[in-house]
């Protein structure tokens, strides 16, 4: 990978900070009852989406699970429209019909948030299939959690991708728990990237708390997919600082463990790295914080001002003819 200029590095930091502050605001809005349903926060995992998506071109595809606010933001989706979607409003990305778990944005080739664990893996594979079919050099990034590797379609999709040489990079975000079930309680082979061996595709693991390491690793895999049509499986080792959703009893892990993991907060690590490298100063950070605060407040204002979807929309978008 090419070494990043200062501006690009600061952009990455800005993006991670946006994810963090945006979602902290989401938690607040959830507590206020402005966001309903299931809300799965990405806090702690920001380096994965930020680093991985930073290597893509605008015409590449991204698909993710239901914990996808960060991926949507990293892809460039409008924070205002995401917040409006979370509020269930007409100006939301999906007109308020999708909600937190189903963010889609065609203008950014963001193929959605999918809420059946692993359900998006064959679909992302299909996007890669289409790129190959049409002779285009696009790449698909397909994100999922550690629990998804135990679903049948994970196996089916990776087998097909390897068999057909599809330009896709599978990114398993191993945050160590599928809801409340630790990886070691779900599969005997804990090195999830080794699943790649079964399909004869490259499998790698990367520190998912290190945004530049993720960028480097995914960057090589994306180039491999784009130039040589070799799919890859990357396991990004990360940790979710918040509960699985907003209703998480926290019975399956200790406070000490969470505190320990927070010592490797990807946002803090990257900020400290850039500070140590003299790329940013304390004052730059303050400016960034302020800028992001404005963006997030603006998103909330926009969502608040947006109307509820009219009841006439209930039965539209079921079929194209009734769109």
């Amino acid at each position: 990978m090419q070494k990043l200029e200062r501006k690009e590095l600061v952009d990455l930091l800005r993006q991670m900070l946006l994810m963090r502050r945006f979602e902290e605001k989401c938690a607040e809005m959830y507590a206020m009852g402005k966001i309903g349903g299931f809300l799965h926060l990405y806090i702690g995992q920001e380096a994965v989406a930020a680093g991985a998506i930073s290597v893509l071109r605008p015409d590449d595809y991204v698909i993710a699970s239901y914990r996808e606010h960060g991926h949507a933001l990293a892809r460039g989706c409008d924070p205002r429209k995401i917040m409006a979607e979370l509020f269930g409003r007409a100006d939301g990305l999906c007109k308020g019909k999708g909600g937190s778990m189903h963010l889609f944005d065609k203008t950014h080739n963001f193929l959605g948030g999918h809420a059946i664990v692993a359900g998006q893996i064959p679909i992302g594979t299909g996007a890669a299939f289409a790129s190959q079919y049409e002779g285009k050099d696009q790449v698909t990034l397909c994100f999922f959690g550690d629990a998804a590797v135990n679903q049948g379609v994970f196996h089916e999709a990776l087998n097909l991708a390897a068999l057909w040489h599809l330009p896709i990079v599978y990114i398993c975000e191993n945050n160590r728990y599928g809801m409340g079930t630790a990886v070691e309680r779900a599969t005997p082979v804990r090195e999830l990237y080794r699943r790649a061996e079964a399909y004869g595709m490259p499998g790698e693991t990367v520190d998912g708390m290190d945004v530049l390491a993720v960028r480097e690793c995914v960057g090589s895999a994306v180039e491999r997919a784009r130039r040589e049509r070799i799919p890859s499986l990357i396991e990004a080792k990360t940790y979710r600082f918040r509960g699985h959703s907003m209703a998480d009893p926290g019975t399956y892990r200790t406070k000490e463990e969470i505190e320990r993991e927070k010592q490797r907060d990807p946002l803090v690590l990257f900020r400290d790295y850039l500070t140590a490298e003299a790329m940013i100063k304390e004052s730059d950070w303050k400016v960034l914080e302020k800028e992001i605060r404005v963006t997030v407040e603006e998103a909330v204002r926009y969502a608040d001002a947006s109307a509820e979807p009219p009841v006439e929309w209930l039965c539209t978008d079921v079929y194209v003819s009734e769109r």
């Binding site: 595809y61 698909i63 939301g92 990305l93 999906c94 007109k95 308020g96 019909k97 999708g98 189903h102 889609f104 944005d105 065609k106 193929l111 959605g112 999918h114 059946i116 359900g119 893996i121 064959p122 679909i123 992302g124 594979t125 299909g126 996007a127 890669a128 299939f129 289409a130 790129s131 079919y133 049409e134 049948g152 379609v153 196996h155 089916e156 999709a157 087998n159 097909l160 068999l163 539209t316 978008d317 079921v318 079929y319 194209v320 003819s321 769109r323």
Partner: protein, 325 residues
């Protein structure tokens, strides 16, 4: 008009649509080299090559999902289920993804794909290979369900299904592949959601599709000899359902028998019966009668299988019951 088999009609539809639109491709188990488990895709590999006629491993959920993703970004996949029973392996992809993506995305991403293959009872294939799968799918908003009974309908409806912008479940029948019928020359389509009066009559309406349609036509012929005039309505697509056509016929005959090969409990007959009762109650001279498969898995033994599936005799008895003769 040429007389061809149902199988040939489907093959022509696939061939013509693949010639017409390079975005259309066929994917499934044994569709290429093997020439199709039921020979529906015979010769397509030779004409279109392995890029567009794609043999898959036995991976229904996986390749159905691949079809969905490809459809979302602009291709028009035709996914073949060797038999529709295997679609249950892919039902999450079909119901949770294909059917809902347009809605969840607020209208941004549509899924123009066809999932097709044979379904319903055949000859002694036993419980896991003889189910009428339409009932698993017609409940789902976002899916369209096609159940053609004749070569002409099979071709015209498949062409429409391939051109449709929504996911279409297209269920053929092992028992119909070898049946023959007249098919119009040249390019023609039959719109989804438009039923067809397969036989006009005055005294009673039979609603039947797929293999049950053939049974209904035979029964109508026999009843004619007894002086009973039967109208046979073939809905052809179950969703959207041509309720107008069914209601018009019932309003004319004042009596209705609804047929289906699958188990009766929760079957399509309950839906059609309810529509008739709700919207044509004042026209009915007798309660709607249903002739359905037994509420049991399909057995292997010949005699038991015969008892499981609706017969012409049971249909004739039902017609006489609504006529009180």
């Amino acid at each position: 008009m040429a007389i061809i088999t149902y199988r040939e009609a489907l093959n022509q539809a696939l061939r013509e649509e693949m010639r017409r639109d390079p975005r259309v491709f066929l994917m499934g188990e044994e569709v290429g080299l093997y020439q199709g488990a039921y020979k529906v895709s015979q010769g397509l590999l030779e004409e279109f090559g392995p890029k567009r006629v794609i043999d898959t491993p036995i991976s229904e959920a996986g390749f159905t999902g691949v079809g969905i993703g490809a459809a979302m970004v602009g291709l028009r996949p035709i996914v073949e289920m060797m038999t529709f029973n295997f679609a249950l392996v892919a039902i999450d992809q079909i119901v949770n993804q294909a059917a809902k993506i347009l809605y969840m995305s607020g209208g941004q991403y549509n899924v123009p794909m066809v999932i097709r293959g044979p379904g319903g009872p055949a000859h002694q294939l036993a419980a896991q290979h003889s189910q009428s799968m339409e009932s698993y799918f017609y409940h789902v908003p976002g899916l369209k369900i096609v159940r053609p009974g004749t070569p002409k309908d099979a071709k015209g409806l498949l062409k429409s299904a391939i051109r449709d912008d929504d996911p279409v479940i297209f269920i053929e029948s092992e028992l119909l592949y070898g049946t023959k019928g007249e098919v119009p020359d040249g390019d023609y389509t039959i719109p989804l959601g438009v039923g067809d009066i397969k036989r006009e009559g005055r005294d009673v309406t039979i609603v039947a599709y797929s293999t049950m349609l053939l049974l209904a036509l035979q029964a109508a012929e026999e009843l004619e000899k007894e002086g009973i005039s039967v109208e046979v309505v073939d809905p052809r697509t179950l969703r959207p359902l041509d309720t107008e056509l069914i209601l018009e016929s019932v309003k004319k005959t004042n009596r209705a028998v609804v047929m289906e090969s699958g188990a009766g409990f929760g079957g399509i007959g309950t839906v059609i019966g309810e529509i008739i009762s709700e919207q044509a109650f004042d026209y009915l001279d007798a309660p709607v009668e249903r002739v359905t498969g037994a509420n049991a898995p399909t057995p292997y033994a010949k005699n038991l299988e015969r008892a499981k599936i609706p017969s012409k005799e049971r249909l004739i008895a039902a017609v006489k019951k609504v006529l009180a003769v």
